[in-house]
Subunit: 100 residues, 2 copies
């Protein structure tokens, strides 16, 4: 069942663009792993936060992707830039008004 | 700039499926209004919550969609089923590892 993971990452002041750069670096492994959508962004009302919204073919595909070398390397690279707070939620997609 | 709106809606016990049905009813107005993705779902860890993740061509397109007759009708229909709590966040998309 299609799966959504959305989240926020707290970042150290001034580190937002660097974290965005890491998370938006082209990674073809993600498609292979079943990632359908992976949008990274910002909101100037929360300048020390990076936002992510991901759509995956399944919860299992998302979980497995965390073990990919390229994903682990990106996490390791971003980690020192993160301030700690993380939030978000996950859900199984039941439908869309854009589809029959 | 592409815009993400993600959110949770608290629903009265037993009302989740009814709210999901309202939100996933086919609505072609949304595409016309600039909606690129509108996923509705559930998480059994939070049985009285409906989750939504939306991608729009712009924040303005999302805001304008709230005035569409079909959207206002859906909101009015769902309202008595909602228990009050709403959460979520909005962000401007800066990129994706799935695109160059």
């Amino acid at each position: 069942m299609t799966f959504v993971n959305v989240g926020t990452l707290g970042v150290h002041p001034g580190a937002r663009d660097a974290v965005v750069a890491i998370l938006t670096r082209r990674n073809r492994d993600l498609e292979t792993a079943g990632c359908l959508l992976y949008e990274v962004g910002v909101n100037d009302d929360a300048p020390d936060t990076v936002f992510v919204a991901e759509l995956w073919v399944s919860a299992e595909a998302h979980q497995a992707s965390l073990q990919l070398d390229s994903v682990r390397a990106a996490i390791a690279e971003a980690m020192p830039l993160l301030s700690g707070p993380m939030d978000g939620y996950r859900f199984a997609v039941t439908g869309s008004p854009l589809r029959e």
